[in-house]
Symmetry: C2
């Protein structure tokens, strides 16, 4: 059973309920955590026969909003949908959680309630980001805004472990996000991380600029959560900007409008390719249970995808596999043989790649 | 006379010489700093009558390469084209410098040789970045990787002063780049800066995410040089990625190829709109003389634009105007009346806006 924070997200609870119903119809049992006074009417409206689906409702009177400060919210809102959902995994009632709500609160709840995995200094959010010829695994994308060099070094190990497990790459190329390629470029923290990674046995290729990361120069991009978040959202913003510019072009003349109408399917495909909101969420790496953090702007389709992702993660015991692989790299400080299987690759590999 | 570091840039000295010749033909006198054994044959090849143009050659035996560490390079390469060019401004032989070379070295040379303007803690690079409906002035874009909150606070003053001078906006909206809109979001430095800006008399609108900066939410975006550089280059990279994706679409079938050929002029226009390399450089704000830092990848056209920008900066005494405006804001901690003139607006305002 997958726990869903039904109250979390910009379009919750409508989008979460819709996504949950779709996932349940596809055979994934779901535990819905939220305010039943809101959820039951919605469930009835969407599917009058919802009680026949494998949906279980857990009433939670509290909700953690997007403006709640994460640390305080976890302490003072014990009866919130998020905290209850996370606790259900720790208690063994469910096998994984999905939340599209306050991501800071989800991170804190995941780390405190589910606990850090052995050897982990800081759990981190990692995900594949599309590039010109495939994708690059970026870590951290927003879990840790202030990082020490040792944290960033561990993100490199975590990224290597993830990519080893879900792709055929035995020695992923590790790049460090910086403002220039030269070793002397970067903030103090980045420069110290450079030295740590240079001395490690990872396949470290040096600094990577955000302009070059799309050119297949590395398989893993290590960054602190602040820069990673700026990077990811700048990509989203630029894709949005270019879509708007295309639309502005379309309104310059009647023949341009006609031109863009003719190419509708092409632009639709490009938009989908660039559109993160349609994709599921990212796994919080370095904790003891699967916690999938979905985008705040997730619509039903993204919620369903995130549920599916959480389901596979639990089913394949991916979190244990990952934590073992991480420990192996950490202790030997050398990349062990890839444990990648076709199955893991197809379920977790390069989810953002172009189909 | 404008000093040009003729040896600086990925395509130097060919691109710099070509840009200088074009600018000289348009009536801007140029002092070329570089290795005359390389420059003279090039000048002859491009324009056999180059000696009739207002080009003056200053032989410099040294070159600061892209991999040279800035601080050391300035100290040990006194006879480099960059150091000599910057010194020529300090000596009053020229009125402004343009360099597309090692930007770190240009920053250090500019700060040390030309000196910080009164009240300035750290000079910074600022420039307009295109948005859906205009542009936003981002500062710092790469001059200061490690920043204290007081530096970021000053960048806000500098951004406000710049925008006041070159746009009709009397009270520019100041945003702070962060990983979330809420005041509690951001690194320690960002959170402390938030408090400083909140207490200031600036028109501070709070945190801005890199995704939202394109939606006309602010006129100035304050960031440290590391994040600003990641942001700017992520925009360039994403625009490049989308161009590649468009090309991939064009190669999917013969009719799609035909389709894109028909729309060639549209895509060309969009590419130009997104293409930073064609734009001139950015002014290093907070020093006593005009120093324009052009993109490393500048071709002749960009060099010419940067020279023109440096020329106008010197002609309008923009650096003095800016430094006065900054001091006024700093001392009163309140935005004085805009000193914007039509002339300044047309020369410096929103250079990245769509034409």
């Amino acid at each position: 059973m997958i726990a869903l924070d039904a109250m979390g997200g910009d379009f919750a609870p409508h989008a979460t309920i819709l996504g949950a119903i779709q996932a349940a119809r596809n055979g994934i049992p779901i535990a819905l955590f939220g305010d039943e006074r809101k959820l039951i009417p919605l469930l009835r409206a969407i599917d009058p026969l919802w009680e026949n689906l494998s949906l279980t409702l857990f009433h939670c009177p509290d909700v953690i909003g997007m403006t709640d400060e994460p640390g305080k919210a976890i302490v003072y809102k014990k009866e919130s949908s998020l905290v209850r959902a996370v606790e259900s995994v720790a208690n063994g009632d469910t096998r994984a959680i999905v939340s599209a709500g306050n991501s800071g609160a989800a991170l804190v709840a995941g780390t405190i309630i589910l606990g850090r995995a052995p050897g982990i200094l800081r759990p981190a959010l990692g995900d594949f980001v599309p590039t010109c010829s495939g994708s690059i695994f970026c870590i951290d994308l927003g879990a840790n805004v202030d990082c020490k060099p040792e944290f960033l070094e561990q993100f490199a190990y975590m990224g290597a472990a993830y990519v080893q497990l879900v792709t055929p790459l035995a020695e992923p190329r590790i790049g460090l996000l910086s403002n220039g390629e030269e070793p002397y470029k970067g903030s103090q923290v980045v420069k110290q991380t450079y030295d740590l990674l240079y001395q490690s046995s990872l396949n470290f290729i040096g600094n990577v600029q955000s302009r070059d990361m799309f050119d297949n120069v590395a398989d893993v991009l290590v960054c602190d959560g602040f820069s990673g978040n700026i990077l990811l959202k700048a990509m989203q913003g630029t894709a949005h900007l270019m879509t708007v510019w295309l639309k502005q072009e379309a309104y310059r003349s009647w023949w341009q409008r006609l031109y863009f109408m003719l190419g509708y399917s092409i632009f639709k495909r490009l938009k989908n390719r660039a559109d993160y909101a349609k994709k599921g969420g990212a796994l919080l790496l370095g904790i003891n249970y699967p916690l999938v953090i979905a985008h705040g702007c997730s619509q039903a389709e993204a919620i369903e995808q995130a549920i599916r992702f959480a389901h596979y993660t639990a089913q394949e015991q991916f979190v244990s596999l990952f934590n073992e692989q991480f420990l192996a790299i950490l202790h030997k400080n050398k990349i062990p043989a890839a444990q990648s299987t076709e199955r893991l690759r197809s379920l977790f590999g390069r989810r953002h790649a172009y189909h």
